[in-house]
């Protein structure tokens, strides 16, 4: 890679894509190094599994920490609790813990490995910008993520992608040494094979990455739909989306970059609109989401 410096005018999504690709390549390299150092395949799989599992198991704590969020009691945030209480009783689901992030960026997220360990969190920014009805719509969207177990689904999805890459890596690695051994080939051949193996596994990781992003966008639409049905007014969620996304565009990007890692569990992606290359995005475009809500509104109106 010639230059790793990426200017912000290339679009934040390019950065995110390269970050993802970089992680994938890094992961492939780590696995290769471990394998070539003679670490057993079983141990490599265990380490990879442990990493994925801890990411899943501590998802609530990691997300709360990353967002500078803290849990709030009904006494501290009576309004927020009241809204969540009613939505949970309406949907007959366990009430998740409720958190607030003091960030001014308007957003909300839900995380936690299962509905019993879920946290639903809103930023101070979104609470200030939206009216109660719109905030309720946003929280209904987040509660749908909890009900759909999206943290588990996305963890499994990305884990499966990693596993596929890992298996192909190991299979090719094995084939290379199994088939190539004892024929007296030159060192250059080995290097070429090694590079080809690396390339194949990177391609597989890359495909897995694209699929994971596509799945994430699909889950967002699903949460929009369930949330809108729960509150019975798709138009209110649409209006909240417009407010939140419209506002995000006005905020300096330097503030937004800090929370890029959180994109997958955000209500609206923390990116400026218009820079999103759809294929690499965790969230569907605003048009797509509004379109769906509009259709739903028409359905409800018969």
């Amino acid at each position: 890679m010639a230059k790793t410096k990426i200017e912000s005018d290339h679009g934040l999504n390019v950065r995110m894509f390269l970050t993802g690709l970089g992680l994938v390549a890094l992961y492939a390299i780590i696995v290769s190094v471990m394998l070539s150092l003679g670490v057993s395949v079983v141990l490599v799989v265990i380490i990879a599994g442990a990493l994925i599992f801890s990411q899943y198991y501590f998802s609530d704590k990691v997300a709360m920490f990353a967002m500078h969020a803290h849990e709030v009691t009904p006494q501290q945030e009576p309004r927020l609790h009241e809204i969540v209480d009613r939505l949970c009783l309406l949907a007959n689901m366990e009430k998740p813990r409720v958190g607030v992030s003091e960030m001014d960026m308007p957003n909300a997220f839900a995380t936690g490995r299962n509905p019993n360990h879920a946290v639903i969190c809103a930023t101070r920014g979104i609470m200030n910008r939206l009216n109660d009805e719109e905030l309720e719509a946003v929280l209904a969207h987040e509660l749908s993520h909890v009900a759909h177990r999206d943290v588990a689904v996305m963890t499994i999805a990305s884990g499966v992608g990693m596993l596929a890459g890992l298996v192909s890596r190991i299979a090719l690695f094995g084939a290379m040494f199994g088939g190539g051994g004892g024929r007296g080939r030159g060192g250059q051949n080995i290097v070429l094979l090694e590079m080809a193996t690396m390339l194949v596994s990177i391609v597989i990781y890359f495909i897995a990455f694209l699929l994971t992003m596509a799945l994430s966008r699909y889950r967002e639409l699903a949460a929009d739909r369930s949330g809108a049905i729960l509150i019975g007014k798709p138009s209110v969620l649409a209006s909240a989306l417009v407010h939140v996304t419209g506002d995000i565009g006005k905020i300096p990007r330097t503030d937004l970059r800090k929370s890029e890692g959180m994109n997958a569990f955000f209500f609206a992606p923390a990116l400026a609109p218009g820079t999103a290359a759809n294929l690499f995005s965790t969230h569907p475009s605003l048009e797509r989401r509004l379109d769906q809500l509009n259709k739903l509104e028409k359905e409800l109106n018969g």
Binding site: R86, L90, K95, S144, A223, L300
Partner: protein
């Protein structure tokens, strides 16, 4: 939620459970004998209005749906500060109150509005004031359980009294076991 729903990211709408509503009559006797509480003559039904024809949008629609006599001022309809609608029924007789609320529930379920129902509330006041303080019994529609709610101020509630009510009524009523579901209903229009 089943595995299929998880995989496809769907949630089913939840139908209300009206079975236990009539259990209130026996509980009322216990409330009177143990805590000297009698009905306040008011009951309410709380639901979330949605958009569209399949859902009720205007107050007139709701009144028509529930077949109200416009000359009858026993029934009022209000919207609370969280946008939920409240149907408030006045009747000094608790049995009639429960029947009325149940009829409204059934009517809404028949019109496909079951998933929109949140709760029903019945007011109880001391027979000889000041007594112990007034208590609302809240029936959670989706869970089919009751819990006591005894507000004492704009955002204070008398938890001690609520827990005493639970101890007296636990044999008569299915009381909500999950205390976190004992939702606070501040400024509710039912006395």
């Amino acid at each position: 939620m089943g595995l299929r729903d998880t995989i496809f990211g769907r949630t089913k709408q939840v139908a209300p459970n009206l079975d236990n509503l009539f259990a209130l009559s026996t509980a009322a006797l216990t409330l009177q004998s143990e805590l000297d509480l009698v009905t306040s003559g008011q009951g309410g039904l709380c639901f979330k209005a949605g958009s569209g024809e399949s859902t009720i949008t205007t107050d007139d629609d709701i009144k028509e749906l529930l077949d109200f006599d416009s000359t009858n001022n026993k029934v009022t309809l209000t919207t609370d500060d969280l946008g939920f609608k409240w149907l408030v029924v006045n009747d000094p007789d608790l049995e009639a109150l429960v029947t009325r609320i149940h009829a409204a529930d059934t009517s809404m379920v028949e019109h496909g509005l079951g998933p929109r129902l949140l709760c029903a509330v019945f007011g109880f006041v001391p027979k000889t004031p000041p007594g112990e303080g007034s208590v609302r019994l809240v029936y959670l529609m989706k869970q089919g359980t009751f819990y006591p709610f005894a507000p004492t101020g704009p955002s204070q509630r008398n938890n001690e009294l609520e827990l005493r009510v639970r101890s007296f009524l636990s044999t008569d009523l299915p009381i909500e076991k999950e205390l976190s579901r004992w939702m606070a209903l501040w400024n509710l229009p039912v006395n």
